[in-house]
Amino acid sequence: MSTESRLRIVWIYPDLLSTYGDRGNLLIIERRAALRGFAVECIEVRSDQSLPEHGDIYLLGGGEDGPQALAAQRLRADGGLHRAVVRGAVAFAVCAGYQLLGESFFAKGAQYPGLHLLDLKSDRGPSRAVGELAGEVNPALGLPPLTGFENHGGRTHLGPEAHPLAEITTGIGNNGTDEGAWRGRVLGTYLHGPALARNPALSDLLLLWATGVTPTPINDTWPERLRRERLAAVGFR
């Protein structure tokens, strides 16, 4: 976290990458940080603006092929996200935003270069993955089961430098076996729902990474009821 005691959340290119309620992830982190007493500053950066490099958490949403390719191109040219991650900032990306963190992704009938922040490649799957997803989170992260809604046509293949976020019990995720990826403080997932509304512990992990402080418990009655209901709906034991 930056020297001033203010948590800066940067939402990258909502004009290009914002579908399926992705703003929800920003709202959830903002609320959970504020409840822990952090002063929060949310910065929305349009694709025609340069990326601030002093952010603590960078968020990327989903989008259609065209905007995804454009966003990757602009982020590569900007270089700010790369420098922020090297400095130790947190990045959390969803769906199209997740794919473009990798080596390359498939859009508009062609393979595009990504940002090389995660060791993974994405291509097109045989069918669209639409529906509830559930899985066991990688034990190294110490999180409860993952739940969310996926809606994507891509398949993602992890290289040795990327850890899968979860092993799937319901849904397709990356490839029918695992879902999402992380390395250091960069984490990506296909999940909407939004992902952090369904997985408040994941939101708190991002906060821990960004602040170095273990978030204090808060009243999570409603998110917990939502999680129980969604996990039960897909027969998660």
Binding site: D15, T19, Y20, G21, D22, R23, G24, L27, I28, R31, R46, D48, E64, V130, G131, E132, F149, N151, H192, G193, P194, A197, W222, P223, R225, L226, E229, R230
Partner: protein, 411 residues
């Protein structure tokens, strides 16, 4: 066209389609308009074109408000003569064929058209006027992208220069789609939902807004000067005259629908002063806007099918206890993420109850949005929880049907 003038094949198709619809109704499977039309179209693919031939037709399309605007336009045009219409919202070609077959000979027809089918129906029915209301995201996990829909409309309209367009000047996507038309009447019908029109569909630059005005930063696309506008309690017609509009339907959005209906009706020669009073004939539509008195509570039902619809419903709702009900069954779309596209803060300061299959998703959303609420597990429990008086109910599609069933399928 008269039934006598129909080709033999179409006559047979029409008659079979009517009996199939009657059978379907008798079997208790809805109003039968879809199945009747489907059988008719299998027998004669040209049926819709043949049934449409010889009629003066208006088509009405858009993401929100098309059923209501179709009702209002039909009411306004009824002063000219008999009007065939698919008033129950069966808005695909089978529904159109069925509605025209059922109506028999009429001089006029006003048809609500699903936005995906505009090209097909326009080609088949050769309308005189097409009304375009708005475009926004709908059922996210299945609909085409908004810009893609605008592009489809634009191509369709360009291919039919003979059709007069009545279009919403406040919606950049609709404006861009309609801009290829030879003749357009612009209506300032408003746009409460801006999140699908920040990027110019022509050049990709950002759309800027200042009050009612909007313009593209990168090209010449901008808000056209409207001929019709909405004013407090009425509309302003192309001569600049204010017209008092008395509706049985709530909200500014329905005043805008009325302005569009009048704009369309006047294209067919309906005098405004005679058309105006007919608008008050439109009351509730398949339960929407219906009010029901139960246990000293006056319950009003508002349907909201997508984010733009929710914002409109908040605008219509009185400052009274409000029940929100959300499902995510097939007709609703299975993904509830759209809840985060809607700002629920207009509900702060009133009693809010939540229910439905996906009440927990709504609970988490409202908590983040800073809107206090209580969860109830049935409509009866909700009713018992609020004091006598006005009670607003806002629900998405299948949740709305569930509540309508509780109220004896109110129309």
């Amino acid at each position: 066209m008269t039934a006598k003038g129909l080709p033999l094949r179409s006559k047979l198709a029409t008659s079979l389609s009517r009996s199939a619809a009657a059978l379907s109704r008798a079997a208790g499977r809805g109003d039968g308009s879809v199945i009747g039309g489907r059988i008719g179209l299998i027998i004669d693919p040209e049926l819709l074109a043949n049934l449409a031939a010889g009629r003066d037709i208006a088509l009405i399309s858009g993401t929100n408000g098309k059923t209501t605007t179709t009702r209002l336009t039909t009411a306004a045009m009824s002063i000219l003569g008999r009007v065939a219409t698919n008033g129950l919202g069966a808005n695909m070609p089978t529904g159109h064929a069925s509605a025209l077959a059922k109506a028999g000979t009429t001089r006029y027809a006003v048809l609500e058209v699903d936005e995906h089918y505009l090209d097909q129906v326009l080609t088949a029915t050769r309308p005189r006027v097409v009304g375009l209301l708005n475009l926004s995201r709908d059922q996210l996990d299945r609909a085409k992208e908004v810009a893609m829909m605008a592009d489809l409309w634009r191509t369709t309209i360009e291919a039919h220069p003979e059709v007069h367009i009545v279009a919403n000047a406040d919606d950049p996507m609709v404006t861009w789609a309609a801009a290829t038309a030879k003749s357009v009447t612009w209506v300032a019908a408003g746009q409460r939902w801006h999140d699908d029109s920040w990027v110019c569909p022509e050049c990709g630059a950002r759309i800027e807004r200042d009050g009612d005005r909007w313009w593209c930063n990168g090209c010449s696309l901008s808000r056209p000067t409207p001929q019709w506008a909405v004013a407090s309690g009425g509309v302003i017609d192309p001569s600049g005259t204010y017209r008092d509009v008395r509706l049985q339907l709530p909200g500014r959005v329905n005043l805008a629908n009325a302005a569009t209906a009048l704009a369309i009706a006047t294209c067919f020669g309906a005098p405004i002063i005679h058309a105006l009073p007919r608008l008050a004939d439109v009351t509730s539509i398949a339960g929407r806007y219906a009010t029901v008195v139960r246990d000293e509570r006056t319950i009003r039902l508002l349907l909201a099918k997508n984010p733009a619809g929710w914002l409109e419903a908040f605008d219509m709702a009185e400052q009274a206890p409000t029940l929100l009900s959300i499902n995510a069954r097939d007709p609703d779309g299975l993904d509830t993420s759209w809840l985060y596209d809607v700002d629920f803060s207009p509900l702060r300061g009133r009693r809010v109850l939540i229910t439905g299959d996906r009440a927990m998703d709504l609970a988490v959303r409202l908590e983040v949005n800073g809107v206090p609420f209580d969860h109830v597990t049935s409509f009866g429990q909700a009713l018992a929880a609020v004091p006598p008086g006005w009670f607003e109910v806002i629900a998405n599609y299948t949740a709305f049907q569930d509540i309508r069933a509780e109220l004896d399928r109110v129309n």
